[in-house]
Amino acid sequence: MYHHLDELESQSIYIFREAYRRFENLAMLYSIGKDSTTMIHLARKAFFGRLPFPLVHIDTTYKYPEMIQYRDRMAREWNADLIVGKNAAAIEAGMGPEQGRLLCCEKLKTDGLSRIIEQHGFHGLFLGIRRDEEGSRAKERVFSPRDKNFEWPYKDQPPELWDQFNTSFEPGTHIRVHPILHWTELNIWEYIKREQIEICPLYFAKDGKRFRSLGCMPCTGPITSSAATVDDIIEELKTIKAPERAGRAQDQENAYAMQKLRAKGYM
């Protein structure tokens, strides 16, 4: 009767309510992907159908058009306050992956995010990262501070136990809250199925290919797959051996790419 998805859901709702109680001026980072879409569904559960904070999408202008269409349609459906942020200066100066994938991520995503945080004075951000995605995310706390310089002190994080989170911080710090940190990729799909959450159509196979992880066009490739429904994807995941982010070129730049990006404030 008490299903593992119920437990995951309840834990995420608890985290949402805890953050909402503790911090003013929160926002949720929305990447359009399955994880952050699931996270929005969980927030609506926590707040009885409301989204009591804005969604922030950092647009690198390199996104697939299907993603942007889906984003705008869903934001209307959720009655969400959607803020779209861009690092306009870097985009105008022609920043792109040909100048280095990691530099491009840092300029268009990390810097784009930092501008939005400053502009709106956000004290806290919800992010849909998961521990099973890759190594440095596995080491995250549920409530994870970033200092004035946006840096993540991953070597010296305070303890977090029994659902008691660190909630007081030095001025200038912003807090990242990770409501689905404890979910796996398979959990996400099982939950999408159970809750009938509408997700971006790029995840479903067309002409023998589908996206397993969504990102910018130049750096994100589809996988070979015939999984055209949520059920197909769940079956596929039970046998797949490749890592989830294998299609994300920036992760493969060097052995510690993601750790380096994330120590500087990347999502």
Partner: protein, 519 residues
């Protein structure tokens, strides 16, 4: 239990006893390593001119790879035929105890690892003790590196006796003690034949016998209030049921305030009228009375409520470089409550690896040390003994802005309600023909009211009740009662006498203009 119910396990033990290798082996043997990952590690090892290192799997961070130790808690995932597992790799170095505790605090079960050649060491014992403090009861012991001692049965037997003895002293009975070699894979996923003298399960078989630890629905109800939402014209108290079950129509008490009411609804999004909710569920409730209660109160059944207290004794562990000091004040966070607490005395300071008392009435505890401490709390909280209800029997200790330690409650002094006097308002208060009055002029303590249905009926019938107050501060509890029960009152002063008249105005709401007549 559903087939895909994930079990969270933590792996603890002395540094260099082979944790990361053991985990790498579990992943490899269960086919849980993406091929790309395996090739990456093989390439790195070749480049460094060494054998394939299973440990690299867990050590995702750069520094760890360089120093060959595990810095923080990482979690990774593998599957057996029975179910998926999340492994929390807990670091062994002493200075990383806070990460080990972060990892271990959410685990359902633990593997305690001992090096067969080195035997039980300081951190083996410290980690075992921490497991007992964290309430982890499902423990399997693996005696590792037996390939280094020729799978000698005597060596294994000696280590087994040692560790069983120590675990017994901290109240842990291991489900099995298993002879293994993580490097060679003996008794991990399969038997390779090196230990014909061992007839017990492999590590994977032992793990598959463990159960998920969920909140217990059969224990008494504990629902700590996490927040109060005033939405859609309702007051919704939200929180997670930590134990027991809450049902629509239940009569409940909020503690420490002591307010009593009935559950009007149990709600979730899209299901605003559930018959009940049980341990583990995050819900919202509304109540018959619009009680003015805040985060930190605990909802329970009146006949089986937590204790209201200002005095607790706890076993604590300290994790911060700034010492824990006798006489200093800290913030305790217990479920959703927060309270300022003074460490009245560190009654005993313990050696966490031998559990011997090293000092009585100590001045301080240093990082990684444990002790038995008496706390005096500034305000009442609702708490339980750890042995009776885990969720309300444990707390973390905040020093300044950081969580710096944790504790479990060994004993607590029930507050007899000495600081607050509850005045019961029922039909007995109607004293004489002059009308009804409640005399508070001799009440020196803080007061609150227990309002009964006959009392409300009496007011609804158009009657008025006079309250004689000792001092103006007693207006507040009356105002609170008026707020919660939709009543009105008027205020009057006659010399040093203070009189309030409480009434209900049929057809009008309490927000109407107050009246000043009638005194």
């Amino acid at each position: 239990m559903t087939q895909s119910d994930t079990l969270k396990i933590v792996i603890v033990g002395h540094v260099d006893h082979g944790k990361s290798t053991l985990i790498g082996r579990l992943f490899y043997d269960t086919g849980s390593i993406p091929r790309v990952r395996y090739q990456e590690i093989a390439a790195t090892c070749r480049a460094q001119g060494r054998e394939f290192e299973f440990a690299y799997l867990m050590d995702a961070l750069e520094e760890e790879r360089d120093q060959n130790i595990t810095i923080d808690t990482a979690s990774t995932f593998f599957k057996t035929a029975k179910r998926p597992y999340v492994i929390i790799d807990a670091p062994g170095h002493k200075q990383f105890l806070k990460n080990m505790i972060t990892g271990a605090s959410s685990a359902d079960a633990a593997i305690l690892l001992v090096d067969g050649a080195e035997g039980v060491r300081e951190q083996t014992k410290r980690h075992a003790y921490v497991l007992s403090l964290l309430g982890i009861r499902q423990v399997v012991v693996t005696v590792n590196k037996l390939d280094m001692v020729g799978y000698d049965r005597k060596v294994f037997g000696a280590v087994e006796n040692d560790i069983r003895g120590f675990l017994h002293s901290v109240g842990i009975v291991p489900s099995h003690v298993i002879p293994v070699s993580a490097r060679q894979g003996e008794n991990m996923a399969k038997r390779l034949g090196h230990t014909p003298w061992y007839s017990g399960p492999t590590v994977l078989e032992a793990l598959d016998t463990f159960e998920n630890v969920h909140g217990d629905r059969t224990l008494p109800l504990r629902l700590p209030v996490q927040d109060v939402y005033k939405w859609d014209g309702k007051r919704i108290y939200v929180g997670r049921v930590e134990s027991g079950e809450i049902r629509k129509g239940d009569e409940v008490v909020f503690l420490p305030s002591g307010k009593i009411t009935k559950i009007k609804s149990v709600e979730k999004w899209r299901t605003p009228d559930l018959p009940s909710a049980g341990a583990g569920e995050s819900i919202g409730i509304t109540t018959r009375d619009e009680l003015f209660v805040e985060r930190g109160e605990v909802i329970a059944r009146r006949d089986n409520a937590p204790v209201r207290t200002r005095e607790i004794r706890a076993s604590i562990f300290w994790l911060s470089d700034r010492p824990f000091q006798a006489g200093a004040s800290y913030t305790l966070k217990l479920a959703t409550a927060e309270v300022t607490a003074t460490a009245v005395a560190i009654e005993e300071r313990l050696d966490s690896s031998s559990l011997e008392v090293t000092e009585r009435h100590a001045r301080e505890l240093l990082a990684t040390e444990v002790g038995n401490v008496a706390f005096a709390l500034k305000n009442d909280i609702a708490a339980d003994l750890y042995g009776e209800n885990i969720a309300l029997g444990r707390f973390v200790i905040e020093d300044g802005t950081l969580i710096s330690g944790g504790g479990i409650i060994r004993s607590l002094a029930a507050d007899s309600g000495g600081s607050v006097q509850t005045v019961r308002l029922d039909d007995k208060f109607i004293i004489n023909d002059d009308g009804s009055f409640v005399d508070l002029t001799r009440e020196r303590r803080e007061v609150d009211f227990y309002v009964t249905a006959p009392f409300l009926d009496y007011l609804s019938a158009g009657n008025r009740v006079l309250f004689r107050l000792r001092d103006p501060r007693q207006v507040e509890p009356v105002a609170l009662m008026a707020f919660e029960h939709n009543l009105r009152f008027s205020f009057g002063r006659d010399g040093e006498k203070i009189n309030l008249i409480l009434f209900r105005d049929a057809g009008k709401t309490a927000t109407a203009e107050p009246e000043f007549g009638g005194l």
